[in-house]
C-alpha cells in the first residue's frame, strides 16, 4: 500500500527523540558502575510509596497513576555493587559526571549544536516509581544544530544528558517492583525538529545520529541501550507521540502504520457523520449482563466470573461495523477501545459486538445481549468488560470518551510501539513537563578545558569515515559507500575492531552486505542473528576452521534451526584435510563399486556429486575434483 501514499502531499512531519546510554565508568550522579547486575548478584529490597500532587501528573499511564494515588507499594531491588544510597534516594546526588558531559558535548559538536555556557540540572517529575526520588534528573547541554540528509537538512532542537530509569521487573495488583541497577546510567537525549518528511528519511536520520554516537566509542551497545521515540503528524491529523521503538529498522513501519491509522480514523469520523451519530447519543449507561454471559460455554468468561468478577456492557447506537474497522494491521477500532479500557480501568480488555460470535460466545447469546440492551443488531454495537464494578466503570467511561472523540477526529495520545510496528494507546499527552531545579547539584561552567577534552571524543564525519573505509580498510569505493548508508555499519566497525587482525575488513563487509542480504532474500529471519553469532562465524574463518565460502552455509544452517547453536553450525563445516578427503572418496567409491565399474570413466559425475554433498564448504571444490579423479584412476587400474 505504501507506494500509493504520497507522504509529502499528506504533509507528514516526523521528529525523533533518541535516547542512548553512555558507556561511562560511573553513573551520572554517583560512583556506581554502569553495568547491569546478573541473576547471581545478591539483592536486598526496600519498600516505598510516592506522594503525588494532582497538578503533577506528568508521564504516567492513567491506571498506574490511579494505583499510585491509592497507595500502590513500590518495591526496589538493590543489587549489591550496582546501586548505592544515591539511587535509593538516601544520599544527595554527587556532582554531574564530567565524562558523561564530555561525551554529550562531543556528540553535540558533531551535530553543529551550540553548547550552553553553564549547565543546570533539573528534576522532571515522574511518579510511576521508576525513580525512587519521584523525578528524573536531566539537563540541557546544547541547543540548535542540524544533521544533513539527502532529502534535506533536519534541525536539532535540544541535546540533554539525563539519568536512565530503574528496570521494571514485576507488577501485580497493589505493587510494582524495580531493580535499581539501570537507574542513573547516563543517557544522551537528542531531539530533532519535526523536519522529517518520509518514513525512510526518519530511519536514515536515526541511523546517522546513531552512527555518530557510536563513533565516539563511548556509548553502550546491545539490547535496551538505545531507544527511539517519534512524534508523527499529517496535515489533517494530529501530532502523536510514539514511545519505545527499540529497533531502527522498525521506524519506517511505525510511521507508515501511524499514518494509516490516522487516515482510517478520519474515515471513521466521516462515516459516523454520514450515519448522523451525535455525541449526546453516546452515553455511559452501564448494564450488568453477567446472567446472560453465564449461560455461554466461553472459557474466557467463566474464568473471569470465577474470580468474582461480573460482566458489564454499554450500547453504542449506530456503531455496527465501526468497531471492526482495521486501523492498523490486525488492530481494529475495537482494539483501540480495548487499549483505553486497559489503560484507564486496569482491566484485561474488552469484548465488542463486531468481533462476535467468538471466544465461545455464540450467536444466540449475542442476540440476547442486543435484546437486553434494547439495541438493534443490524445497526448498533456494544462493548463488554468483565471485571469488578469499580474498574469496569473506569474502563467503560474511558471507552465512551474515546468513542465520542471519534466524531471529532484523532485524540492527542502518547502511544507505545509494538514489536510488529503497530502501536497501542498508553496515555493522554501530558502538558508541559513539571521541572524543578535540582538544588542538590551545583551548575557546571563549560570552560575551554572541558571543550578541549570533548574535542578528543568528537566522532568522525561520514566523509572522513568513508575515506577511512577505502584507505585503511581496503574496501572498494562502491562497497564503502553502500556500507556508510547501511544500518549494519556500527556492527561492521565493531567486528573490524575485534577481528581486524585476523580477517580482512573486506570479508566482514561482504558478510554483512552480501551474504546476509542473500539469506534474507531466501526468506530467513536474519534479525535473529546477534552480533556475537556473526563474530563467532568470522572468528572460525580467521582461525582456519572453516573456509570463507562456508560463511553463508553456516549461517543458513543456523537460521534454518538445523542445529542448536552457531557453534554446532560451524562444526558442520569445519575444514577437512586432503588426506581425510581421500579416505572419504575411497569409502564412497567402495560403497558404489558396481556402478563405478559399470560406468568406467563416466562415474566421475556420480562420485563427485556424492562427495560434494558431504564436504561442500569444507574444502575447495577443485581439490575435491582432483582427489576424485585420482581415486577413480586408482580404482580402475586395480579393477582392470
Amino acid at each position: 500500500m505504501d507506494e500509493q501514499i504520497d507522504y509529502v502531499r499528506l504533509g507528514l512531519k516526523v521528529g525523533l527523540e533518541i535516547h542512548q546510554q553512555l558507556d561511562t565508568k560511573h553513573k551520572l550522579f554517583c560512583d556506581c558502575p554502569t553495568e547491569l547486575a546478573d541473576s547471581s548478584t545478591p539483592v536486598s529490597e526496600v519498600e516505598r510509596y510516592l506522594k503525588v500532587t494532582k497538578s503533577e501528573v506528568g508521564e504516567v499511564d492513567p491506571a498506574a497513576l490511579y494505583e499510585i494515588k491509592r497507595g500502590r507499594k513500590i518495591i526496589y531491588q538493590i543489587p549489591k555493587g550496582h546501586a548505592c544510597l544515591v539511587e535509593l534516594d538516601e544520599e544527595p546526588p554527587h556532582e554531574l559526571n564530567r565524562e558523561a558531559l564530555k561525551i554529550t558535548i562531543a556528540i553535540a559538536k558533531a551535530l553543529h549544536s551550540r553548547i550552553l555556557d553553564e549547565i543546570y540540572v533539573m528534576r522532571k517529575i515522574v511518579v510511576d516509581g521508576s525513580n525512587p526520588t519521584g523525578f528524573q534528573r536531566t539537563a540541557v547541554v546544547a541547543i540548535g544544530g542540524y544533521i544533513d540528509d539527502e532529502d534535506g537538512r533536519v534541525g536539532i532542537q535540544t541535546i540533554c544528558v539525563e539519568e536512565d530509569a530503574a528496570r521494571k521487573i514485576d507488577e501485580a495488583a497493589g505493587y510494582v517492583k524495580y531493580n535499581l541497577d539501570r537507574l542513573g546510567i547516563p543517557l544522551i537525549e537528542i531531539s530533532t525538529a519535526p523536519d522529517i518528511r518520509t518514513p525512510e528519511q526518519a530511519m536514515r536520520v536515526a541511523l546517522r545520529i546513531g552512527l555518530l554516537m557510536r563513533l565516539t566509542g563511548k556509548v553502550k551497545r546491545g539490547i535496551g541501550t538505545i531507544r527511539q521515540d517519534l512524534n508523527i503528524s499529517i496535515s489533517e491529523g494530529e501530532k502523536i507521540e510514539i514511545k519505545g521503538v527499540s529497533k531502527l529498522e522498525l521506524i519506517p513501519k511505525v510511521i507508515r502504520y501511524e499514518v494509516q491509522r490516522q487516515l482510517k480514523l478520519m474515515d471513521i469520523k466521516r462515516e459516523l457523520r454520514k450515519r448522523g451519530v451525535r455525541a449526546d447519543e453516546i452515553t455511559c449507561n452501564i448494564k450488568d449482563i453477567t446472567d446472560i454471559l453465564r449461560s455461554s460455554n466461553s472459557k474466557l468468561v467463566h474464568r473471569e466470573l470465577r474470580k468474582g468478577h461480573r460482566a458489564y456492557a454499554i450500547g453504542l447506537k449506530k456503531f455496527k461495523g465501526i468497531l471492526g474497522v482495521e486501523v492498523q494491521p490486525n488492530r481494529r477500532f475495537g482494539t483501540e477501545l480495548s487499549d483505553y479500557a486497559r489503560a484507564w480501568g486496569g482491566v484485561s480488555g474488552i469484548i465488542h459486538s463486531d468481533e462476535l460470535p467468538k471466544y465461545g460466545i455464540i450467536e444466540d447469546i449475542v442476540v440476547s445481549i442486543y435484546k437486553y440492551l434494547k439495541l438493534d443488531p443490524e445497526r448498533d454495537a456494544f462493548v463488554v468488560v468483565i471485571s469488578d464494578r469499580e474498574r469496569a466503570e473506569r474502563a467503560l467511561s474511558a471507552v465512551v470518551e474515546r468513542v465520542r472523540y471519534a466524531l471529532v477526529g484523532i485524540p492527542k495520545e502518547t502511544r507505545g510501539a509494538n514489536p510488529d510496528g503497530t502501536t497501542r494507546y498508553l496515555r493522554p499527552q501530558p502538558g508541559a513537563a513539571r521541572m524543578y531545579p535540582e538544588t542538590d547539584v551545583p551548575p557546571i561552567r563549560i570552560d575551554e578545558g572541558l571543550l578541549k577534552e570533548a574535542e578528543l571524543l568528537k566522532p568522525k564525519t561520514p566523509e572522513e569515515l568513508l575515506k577511512e573505509l577505502v584507505s585503511r580498510h581496503g574496501l572498494n569505493k562502491e562497497m564503502a559507500t553502500q556500507l556508510i548508508k547501511d544500518p549494519l555499519l556500527p556492527m561492521y566497525l565493531d567486528l573490524v575492531r575485534e577481528l581486524g587482525e585476523l580477517i580482512k575488513p573486506q570479508l566482514i563487509a561482504t558478510t554483512l552486505l552480501i551474504y546476509l542480504k542473500g539469506l534474507k532474500s531466501e526468506g530467513l529471519n536474519i534479525d535473529s542473528l546477534t552480533e556475537d553469532d556473526i563474530k563467532k562465524v568470522l572468528q572460525a574463518v580467521g582461525d582456519g576452521r572453516i573456509a570463507k565460502e562456508a560463511i553463508p552455509e553456516v549461517l543458513s544452517a543456523y537460521l534454518r534451526k538445523n542445529v542448536e547453536n552457531v557453534e554446532e553450525a560451524i562444526n558442520m563445516f569445519t575444514q577437512i584435510s586432503v588426506e581425510e578427503l581421500r579416505q572419504l572418496v575411497r569409502k564412497i567409491v567402495e560403497e558404489n563399486k558396481n556402478a563405478v565399474s559399470r560406468k568406467g570413466t563416466k562415474a566421475f559425475g556420480l562420485i563427485m556429486g556424492k562427495v560434494m554433498s558431504l564436504v561442500r564448504g569444507r574444502i575447495d571444490g577443485k581439490i575435491v575434483a582432483n582427489v576424485v579423479q585420482e581415486v577413480l584412476q586408482e580404482f580402475h587400474s586395480e579393477d582392470s
Partner: protein, 438 residues
C-alpha cells in the same frame, strides 16, 4: 548573586548569541552561578545558563513572572471530621521547604492547608488542625533563646487544650531542641512530637508524609506524656519510631532512618500501612493532668559543648572561663577523659564556679571516671560525671538548670539526678546496634 546587565529576576528576555536565540524568564542566580551568567527558564521548563558576554540581550517584558517572598503566616487552621485537636508549630527546616517550580525559589512556608495536602487523612482524625509559623530557620541557626520561644509556644497550645503538639524542625539539631523541651515542659498531658524530613516535602519521595501521618496515631494512642522525635525507623516506608527526646541522635547525614535512640530503646513505633501503634518501652513518663503541667522555658546561653581530642589546646577552657561561661559540657574520650595537661585548666574553671559535666564521645555506654588516673583526677578537680547522657542532652540540661536553678550546688546535684529519663541506669545487651560486618 546579582544578575548581569541590570536584568532582574522575573524578566522575560531574548538572548542572541552565535546565531542561536534563547527566550526565557530570568531565574534567581545560585551561590555557584558565574557572575557573567544569567539563568533562563525556557519554554520547555529547562533552566539554562548563558553568558551575556558577546551576546545581544533584549528585555521582552519586565517583571513577566512574579517571584517574591511571602510574609510569615502567624496562624492558619482547618477543621476536620475527627476528634483530635492537633497543633503544629513550624520552626523551619527541610520539612517545610518547597521549591517553587516556576522560579526555583525555596519557599520555607507551611500552612494548615498544605499540611492536609501532604497527609489528607489528617482531616479524618482531627477536629481542628492549627499551624503556627514561628520561625523560618534552618536548624543550625537555632540558639537556646529559640528553645525558649518554642517551649513557650508549645505550652500555650497545651494550655489551650491541644491533644498533641507537633514541632516541625530541621533535623540537624532536632535532638538538641527535643532535649531542651523535655526539661522545660514537665508533666505533659500529651506527647510533644518533633517531626522533620530528610527529603523535602515538595518531593514525591518525601519522608515527611509518613512521619506526619504517624503523629495523630501517637497523639491519640500513646500512654506517655513526653517530648519525642517522630521519624522513619527504616529506609523502607514501613514504620515510624517515637524516640525519647533526651535519648535520640541523628546518626546519619542523609538517610531517612537517621534518627536512633542511644543507650535506650524507642518509646513506640507506628507500622504502616495499617497504622498500628506499638509501645516498645515500658519506662516512660505517663500523661499527666493539665493542672499539673508546668513550663520553665528559660535557657542559659553561657554553656559550651566541647570535644576532647589528641593535642587539645587547654587554653580553650581558660578562654571560656575568662568569657564568663557558667557551664561546660565535655565530650571526653572513652570512659570520660581529657589529656593530663588540661586537668589544671579544668580545676581552675571549677574553682571559678564553672560547672563542668563529662560525657563520652563514644556516645554508647556510660562514663566511668574511677577506672583510670586521669578520670580520678578530673573528679577531684570537680568534674561531674554525666553517666550515660548524650552530650547534646547534657548540654541542654545544663543550660536549662543554670537558667532556672539559682543555687550552684543544687545545679550540681540535679545534673546527676535523673529528671526526665535522660539517664538510663540499666543498659540491656540489646540496646547496642548490630553493624554490618560483611
Amino acid at each position: 548573586m546579582g544578575n548581569p546587565e541590570g536584568l532582574e529576576v522575573g524578566d522575560l528576555v531574548r538572548v542572541v548569541k552565535n546565531n542561536i536565540v534563547l527566550e526565557g524568564v530570568v531565574m534567581p542566580a545560585t551561590e555557584f552561578t558565574s557572575p557573567d551568567v544569567v539563568i533562563l527558564k525556557l519554554g520547555n521548563g529547562y533552566n539554562v545558563g548563558v553568558s551575556v558576554k558577546n551576546a545581544k540581550v533584549e528585555v521582552i517584558k519586565k517583571s513577566y513572572a512574579h517571584i517574591g517572598g511571602e510574609a510569615l503566616r502567624a496562624r492558619t487552621s482547618i477543621s476536620g471530621r475527627g476528634t483530635l485537636r492537633l497543633s503544629m508549630i513550624s520552626t523551619g527546616g527541610t520539612i517545610v521547604s518547597k521549591v517553587e517550580y516556576e522560579t526555583g525559589a525555596v519557599k520555607p512556608a507551611l500552612t494548615a492547608q498544605e499540611l492536609i495536602e501532604l497527609a489528607p487523612e489528617l482531616l479524618n482524625e482531627v477536629s481542628e488542625l492549627e499551624v503556627i509559623e514561628l520561625f523560618r530557620l534552618l536548624s543550625e541557626d537555632l540558639t537556646p533563646s529559640h528553645w525558649s520561644r518554642i517551649a513557650e509556644e508549645v505550652a500555650k497550645r497545651i494550655e489551650s487544650g491541644a491533644g498533641g503538639v507537633i514541632v516541625a524542625h530541621g533535623t540537624d539539631t532536632m535532638s538538641y531542641t527535643a532535649a531542651a523541651l523535655a526539661f522545660a515542659l514537665r508533666n505533659l498531658p500529651c506527647p510533644v512530637m518533633l517531626v522533620g524530613a530528610q527529603r523535602s516535602s515538595d518531593r514525591p519521595s518525601t519522608d515527611s508524609v509518613l512521619n506526619l501521618r504517624a503523629c495523630p496515631v501517637i497523639a491519640s494512642r500513646a500512654p506517655f506524656g513526653e517530648v519525642v522525635v517522630v521519624m522513619h525507623g527504616h529506609t523502607s516506608d514501613s514504620y515510624v519510631l517515637a524516640h525519647r527526646g533526651v535519648k535520640v541522635r541523628k546518626m546519619h547525614s542523609s538517610r531517612r532512618d537517621a534518627f536512633q535512640s542511644v543507650n535506650d530503646i524507642p518509646l513506640a513505633r507506628v507500622d504502616f500501612p495499617k497504622k498500628t501503634f506499638k509501645l516498645l518501652n515500658r519506662r516512660y513518663l505517663p500523661r499527666s493532668s493539665l493542672q499539673n503541667f508546668t513550663v520553665r522555658a528559660k535557657f542559659s546561653s553561657k554553656v559550651a559543648l566541647i570535644k576532647a581530642y589528641p593535642g587539645m589546646d587547654c587554653g580553650i577552657i581558660d578562654y571560656l572561663v575568662d568569657k564568663g561561661y557558667e557551664g561546660i559540657v565535655l565530650e571526653g574520650t572513652g570512659l570520660g577523659h581529657v589529656r593530663r595537661e588540661c586537668i589544671d585548666a579544668v580545676r581552675r574553671a571549677c574553682e571559678e564556679g564553672v560547672i563542668i559535666v563529662m560525657t563520652s564521645q563514644t556516645l554508647f555506654g556510660r562514663v566511668n571516671m574511677k577506672v583510670y588516673t586521669n578520670g580520678r583526677k578530673l573528679i577531684l578537680a570537680g568534674v561531674i560525671p554525666g553517666s550515660d547522657m548524650l552530650p547534646e542532652a547534657a548540654y541542654a540540661k545544663l543550660s536549662w538548670l543554670l537558667a532556672n536553678v539559682r543555687d550552684r550546688d543544687e545545679v550540681r546535684a540535679l545534673m546527676t539526678c535523673n529528671l526526665v529519663n535522660e539517664i538510663n541506669e540499666v543498659h540491656d545487651a540489646e540496646i547496642y546496634p548490630r553493624w554490618y560486618h560483611g
